[in-house]
Symmetry: C2
């Protein structure tokens, strides 16, 4: 069954806003088993909206539209669709009352531009908006169902789930099921290479990739006549995916690597303290973005200047002078220093050259030393990360999390070892 | 003059990827003075690409297409366009040689799928790709010029600037000029209210808004027959914009607020040390994302646990016990403690409740105390920020930057003052 997504808004055709709504709706429709054949974006222009509406309703079964339902004069979607259908624009009394009450609750009067949001084409069925003011609506035209939703993402999301999904689920001849694996440590191209033959050996299964740098998501999706068959297909294919990627899979769905490592620490009952130099607080930020970090996170000493490394971590000036601030010895001393000072179970030390300045002949941009001081000793790793400053910082912070993960999984692994050079 | 953007890729119609290329191209075309009437995205499907190509070339003067020029079997753009034009697909020898040499440099053999990237419609003019392997091309059809660029953003970007822009600049009957102001501290809706009448009083000028939370961008754009007239219009309108928003404007173009504050610190010759609790390293991260932070940034003590506040900042247990960790007194002691320990000119202290857990009856989610210890004293501010955990953290970090900015602009302003309650 085919579908199309129509986005309406001059801010989109002018490129002032990236159209994330279209991607969200396309993914949601694909997940229901629809074949989304086209995404179209047009400006707030009555004639162009009407022409595109006619073209799309003639070529697909379901059209989902967003935008142009607001109170301002440039919001013309409802009147454009009324014109395309050759019907009048009428005021929906229930929506009018709802908007009036909603405004009254925040002490505001109903203006004519607010009232205009209750206007819908005469032949439309209203879709009540529990989140915002403008209602959505649905019309039938040229053999298609066309749904009109507000452009505000949280309103669109809610109306889609409440009103659109229940109505179109049965239209799709196929049902769909999916699993999303989250990975860290393997580049997207290598993920693709390892899964190259999975689609071919599992009929009806699609493998999709998405990068949330530096994490990679692998989506295993199947369509079938019934939910059960789709699910069985995904589960069989997922066994193949897992067997090829298990060292890099850390979670499923909306999981993130920092949250995963946080759960491992909590599960072990380990507390963690961090000492950062070139990553400047990024590792602490990643760990504390998730709520509940106080269960394991004690402190982060961002010792950017050498003087701070001495003051906050008790680093001997000799170590800094002898080995240089960017060295395995300093990373280890930072990890051990912050662990001792903060009285944590694990300490992490990161020192390196994020660039674009600061490189020397023997120490290139991207050179980073990462150390984890654990219950039985201290590990140190040397890496040369590629990418710009922000990518080097992100790769370094994630690699530190990877090392913390290994120590959580096998606490005895933290024996001093300065030899390994792991590319990423 | 009208233009359209055509994006090709099943990963887009499935919603696996947000189409930021379309926004980038739409903005670039708008900036040249084109009226972008439509953005269309279709799957890697020969027939649908050809149909859409025919429809768009019949309705606009310039079509810019991206995607589907890669080496894999699902990249079918060139053959779809050859079919639409009724011409053969031919191998461009110069591109073939270029790809072969490029692969040889990295020690790789040329495969048939690599060679396929040199195939273009017989009537096309090749646009050499200096960044990647696949060349772009341009064809004339139905009175329109249609440019085909790779979907990889940095390749698209480069080819657009090198080959598309010089060819279409003269087509646009109008020229355009723009200024982008960057603001912090005023919500987008209030920015809009303050500028409500600017468009009306400056003909040919458009005001656009874009939120990069918590920063807001205001774009002042004018189109005119000549660059000079467009520029004059923008400059006149920009005077009005500046006069209404000057307290909140910190920069122009791609400037960011953390970079701006960094420049102020560098200009004053001030060094900065930070002590964070509920923001967990975010402020340090924002300041060190920009290169050259080592000129002013000394250290960041992320003292998440109370024990760490005592250890790293020398906070008396009494202060914590008496006032509670979330208090103006503790924020001030953190700012003064980190300034003293790190021997910096300025110290910042942030403590609060980012949520969703941790609130008490007297201390709600979003309550944050921020302190700056400066050359002549210590300022403390109490805020109750709205939003989810990540928004509270971001608002707190930006508000701390705002306070540092004020002290840089007027160092004498740092006198102890616990009374002000500033909403944001």
């Amino acid at each position: 069954m085919t579908a199309a997504v129509l986005s309406i808004g001059t801010e989109l055709t002018r490129g002032e806003l990236v159209n994330s709504n279209a991607a969200w709706l396309s993914a949601a429709l694909s997940d229901l088993g629809f074949d989304v054949v086209e995404n179209v974006t047009v400006a707030d222009d009555k004639e162009r909206i009407a022409t595109t509406f006619n073209r799309l309703t003639k070529s697909v079964r379901v059209v989902v539209c967003t935008g142009g339902l607001g109170p301002t004069t440039d919001d013309v979607t409802a009147s454009a669709i009324a014109a395309a259908l050759g019907v009048a624009l009428v005021r929906d009394q229930a929506s009018f009352e709802y908007i009036r009450r909603k405004l009254a609750l925040s002490g505001r009067e109903m203006s004519e531009s607010n009232a205009k949001q209750a206007d819908v084409p005469a032949s439309a069925e209203v879709l009540p908006n529990a989140v915002g003011t403008a209602p959505g609506f649905v019309v039938e035209a040229n053999g298609a169902s066309a749904f009109f939703l507000p452009g505000v993402p949280k309103e669109m999301d809610r109306l889609y789930r409440d009103c659109v999904m229940p109505r179109i689920r049965s239209l799709s001849a196929t049902d769909a099921f999916q699993v999303r694996f989250k990975l860290f440590g393997l580049p997207e191209s290598q993920v693709g290479d390892r899964l190259a033959d999975v689609e071919a050996s599992h009929s009806g299964v699609t493998i999709g990739y998405r990068v949330h740098f530096p994490e990679v998501e692998v989506k295993v999706l199947a369509r079938a006549d019934t939910h059960l068959v789709a699910r069985e297909r995904v589960e069989r294919a997922a066994i193949d995916v897992r067997s090829r990627l298990s060292p890099w899979i850390f979670g499923e769905g909306d999981d993130t690597f920092p949250a995963h490592v946080g759960r491992l620490l909590r599960g072990r009952g380990f507390t963690l303290a961090v000492a950062e130099s070139c990553t400047g607080g990024l590792l602490g930020h990643l760990l504390t973005r998730e709520s509940g970090a106080s269960d394991f996170f004690v402190a982060d000493a961002v010792t950017y200047a050498n003087s701070a490394k001495a003051k906050f971590l008790g680093l001997a000036e000799d170590v800094l002078r002898w080995h240089g601030a960017v060295s395995g010895e300093v990373a280890a001393a930072m990890a051990e220093g912050v662990k001792r000072t903060a009285q944590a179970d694990l300490g992490v030390g990161i020192t390196g050259i994020a660039g674009p300045g600061g490189a020397t002949e023997s120490k290139p941009i991207g050179l980073v030393y990462i150390s984890v001081a654990g219950p039985t000793g201290t590990i140190v790793r040397e890496h040369t990360f590629t990418g710009d400053r922000n990518q080097v910082q992100m790769r370094a912070a994630y690699t530190a999390l990877q090392m913390v993960r290994m120590v959580c999984l096998d606490p005895a692994s933290s024996a001093r070892d300065i030899t390994a050079r792991l590319p990423i």
